[in-house]
């Protein structure tokens, strides 16, 4: 039942996202009919196409039709290519998912150990180096970091392809670009959390019992310190999807982020709405999942709380 309640709680969020997206894409300047017909079409042709696409109806009517179709699992068709949007999403979503998951793995496998080292060597050179690294990584925007990584790893070292989805390791550079921000956050978060936990009574007790330091850190302190880190990872997965919009464009990675950018440029309303809806759904679901994992790690927290 608590789980059902949580699922029901998603509905208002998703509805809000749908409404906002619908209003925003319809209110920003730009008209798909003009993009499609160009400048020499007659007024009658424009009106006919507007009617055919349903764009001549009042916005509330358009929105209710849109909701009705969504309820039947129909995302509609692209205004420009006439392709079914569900097919476009099915084609692009796995590419973005691969990118996001690999970025997450990279960020966790670098950020968490770096944070642990920084906490254990507090105020010494490893701590300063880790903090400096985290600050530098978090300060670099994706559109700048991407070409920089290409220059180093593709052009100078020749290890990886510059961009695109072909060639061995093509995913590594976009994943590294995407992972940098999250790595920085996880490093700082793990460091701060572990430092706090290391001063707790139960850690002192574990040491007093004569447990080896390695066991104290890994089995006792780290387990408690990772609670806020898990929350951050869940929240940041949504940021990874948002970051993918820029990273996929820079690296020519055919994911949902690039599809979103292209659809906005062409004022392809149904595709834009579908992309934003999918990103929002993933975001909400990951948050719910984070809550579930959180309650597993810390038995004091229950879904009902």
């Amino acid at each position: 039942m608590p789980l059902l309640k949580r699922v029901a709680g998603i509905i208002p969020t998703v509805f809000g996202v749908l409404l906002l997206t619908f209003l925003l894409v319809h209110l920003v300047p730009g008209d798909p009919v003009e993009v499609m017909l160009g400048e020499s079409a007659s007024g009658a042709d424009r009106m006919a196409l507007r009617a055919e696409l349903g764009l001549d109806r009042p916005l509330p009517v358009q929105f209710s039709h849109y909701l009705g179709r969504l309820a039947q699992g129909d995302f509609g068709h692209s205004i420009h290519t006439h392709a079914p949007i569900a097919g476009l999403l099915a084609e692009r979503l796995p590419a973005t998912a691969r990118l996001a998951v690999l970025s997450l793995l990279m960020a966790v496998s670098i950020g968490v150990p770096l944070g642990i080292v920084a906490a254990l060597r507090r105020a010494r050179w490893p701590d300063r180096l880790a903090t400096l690294t985290a600050l530098t990584l978090s300060a670099m925007p994706h559109f700048w970091l991407g070409p920089l990584l290409m220059l180093v790893f593709a052009l100078w070292l020749g290890w990886l392809p510059v961009s695109g989805m072909e060639g061995q390791g093509a995913i590594l550079l976009p994943a590294m670009t995407l992972a940098c921000g999250l790595t920085a956050i996880l490093t700082r978060m793990t460091r701060a959390s572990l430092l706090e936990v290391l001063n707790e009574d139960f850690v002192r007790t574990a040491r007093a019992k004569g447990l080896p330091e390695r066991s104290v850190i890994l089995r006792h302190a780290l387990r408690a310190a990772l609670l806020p880190v898990v929350t951050v990872i869940g929240l940041q997965l949504g940021s990874l999807l948002a970051g993918a919009v820029i990273t996929e464009t820079v690296f020519g990675w055919d994911g949902i982020g690039r599809l979103l950018v292209e659809s906005i440029e062409k004022r392809d309303y149904p595709v834009t709405q579908a992309c934003v809806l999918v990103i929002a759904l993933v975001y909400v679901m990951v948050n719910q999942l984070t809550d579930a994992v959180y309650s597993r790690i810390d038995p004091r927290i229950r879904l009902t709380t």
């Binding site: 400048e39 052009l155 510059v162 072909e166």
Partner: protein, 479 residues
């Protein structure tokens, strides 16, 4: 811990693997924008039109001076309302092996007339009927006289039987051009019919990334859409050859003639005189760019070589503004897209105009918003480029008072009876002279074209309008 690390490593391997490497025998062309559709009836963007020229053949093509010349067919005009086209023998085989016939021509143009959502339909609204006569002959009957009619027939011919079956040409083109599409998954994979050479068109939006791909060998060819500093950088790189050539794409500043300040032609002339085109061409544009005087370049058959470019004379510009009675400094807003090169050029103009007493405010907007503002007259000045213009009909579309948006591209709302009459009479030298005097646009330049190829790649010819016809002759050595 070790088990977790092992799990992580396996996940990484799964996620990074599963990719195929490019075939080194393919010629890879990194393009800024991929085509939107391979159906020539719907194509309006430059990339679609450029690739469709190679996938399909049209009845008519253009020579070096942009005069209409026979491609699939030659023609005679029996009277001002009837044009008879006779198919020749070249390019008569569709990629599916069937023969291109007069019925295919008729079916293509009839389908175009029947479509309500096709952007080119309006251009052919003047066709009253299109019919086959004897074998290989098509007769077009017009509603009104149109001396430019043959030059309009540049839509690729589609097979009638596939049109009848509702075939999706947008992603599965069947034409009779020199290239055919093998696959369009992420990239376009094309094959040249003559020698089976495969060509890959890969969209790479970021100009820096395109350059890096060329240097790394992931691309064999780039053409256009690079800022001049990257072109200069490429010229210094070993293993890369950069070719430049004059272009015909016309860049301009458009005025809103409904704006009270800009209705006075002296103010418009002041703006034209306040821009140092030569300096901009020298320092901020690709080599081979040249000052423009009219939409069509002087070498075009309807061009006007007698027109002189506007000189840079800020003192005269200031005097004109003072004479017009506007308050100095004159504050004007220039709208442009967010393209970095466009913003840079606008910023240079901003600095150049200051001595003339013009305070130029630059507003860069995302493309959709920018173009919507331009279409709806929400601007004082805007900067754009006409790309791939072949016929003088552009003057009707851009300057005739019957072409006010949304029914045309007279975005500045120019209304001049004398110019309308000249356009209606097709007196193009007089049209260009009148437009030069009225100054609805400040002509800026015809941007130079360039291409860069890796060593070992040859045979690519640059065209005036930046089309991709060079793909028909390009060769990669060793493959």
């Amino acid at each position: 811990m070790l088990r977790r690390l092992f799990f992580l490593a396996v996940c990484c391997l799964i996620l990074t693997g599963c990719t195929k490497s490019p075939d080194p025998s393919e010629i890879r062309f990194a393009i800024a924008q991929k085509p939107l559709t391979l159906d020539p009836r719907y194509a309006t963007d430059a990339a679609s039109e450029r690739v469709n020229r190679l996938l399909y053949r049209a009845l008519v093509d253009f020579d070096a001076r942009a005069r209409a010349v026979p491609s699939l067919a030659s023609w005679v005009s029996e009277d001002p309302l009837h044009y008879r086209f006779t198919l020749g023998q070249a390019g008569r085989t569709f990629h599916d092996g069937s023969r291109l016939t007069a019925e295919d021509v008729v079916a293509t143009y009839r389908s175009l007339l029947a479509l309500r959502d096709a952007p080119h339909a309006a251009e052919f609204a003047n066709i009253a009927a299109v019919d086959t006569e004897v074998t290989d002959t098509v007769l077009f009957t017009l509603r009104h006289r149109d001396e430019q009619f043959p030059a309009r027939l540049i839509i690729g011919i589609l097979p009638a039987k596939l049109l009848a079956a509702g075939h999706d040409f947008s992603h599965h083109p069947v034409g009779s051009g020199p290239l055919r599409l093998l696959d369009w998954n992420r990239n376009l994979l094309l094959e040249r019919l003559d020698d089976r050479q495969r060509l890959v068109l890969e969209e790479v939006r970021d100009p820096t990334v395109r350059v890096l791909k060329l240097l790394r060998g992931e691309a064999d060819l780039l053409q256009g859409d690079l800022p001049p500093e990257l072109v200069g950088y490429l010229k210094q790189q070993p293993g890369v050859e950069v070719m430049v050539s004059p272009g015909s794409n016309f860049s301009y500043l458009g005025f809103n003639l409904t704006d009270p300040k800009l209705q006075d032609v002296r103010v418009r002339r002041a703006v034209a005189l306040a821009i140092d085109r030569d300096a901009m061409i020298r320092h901020a544009l690709v080599d081979a760019s040249r000052p423009a005087t009219a939409i069509l370049p002087p070498e075009h058959w309807a061009g006007n070589p007698a027109l002189a470019p506007w000189p840079y004379d800020p003192a005269l510009a200031r005097r004109l503004l003072q004479e017009s009675g506007v308050e100095l400094p004159l504050r004007l807003e220039l709208k442009t897209s967010t393209d970095a090169q466009r913003v840079r050029l606008a910023t240079i103009m901003q600095a150049q105009m200051q001595p003339a007493g013009i305070e130029l405010v630059v507003r860069s907007l995302d493309w959709g918003t920018f173009f919507d503002d331009v279409r709806h007259g929400k601007f004082q000045l805007y900067g754009l480029t006409w790309v791939g213009i072949r016929t003088p009909e552009i003057y009707r579309l851009a300057f005739h008072s019957a072409a006010l948006p949304p029914a045309g591209a007279n975005r500045g709302h120019l209304q001049d009876a004398e110019l309308d009459a000249l356009i209606d009479r097709a007196d193009w030298p007089a049209v260009t002279a009148r437009a030069h005097a009225l100054l609805p646009y400040v002509p800026l330049w015809y941007e130079g074209q360039f291409a860069a190829v890796r060593h070992g790649v040859s045979g690519f010819q640059i065209s005036l309008d930046g089309n991709w016809d060079g793909l028909v002759t390009i060769v990669k050595q060793g493959h």
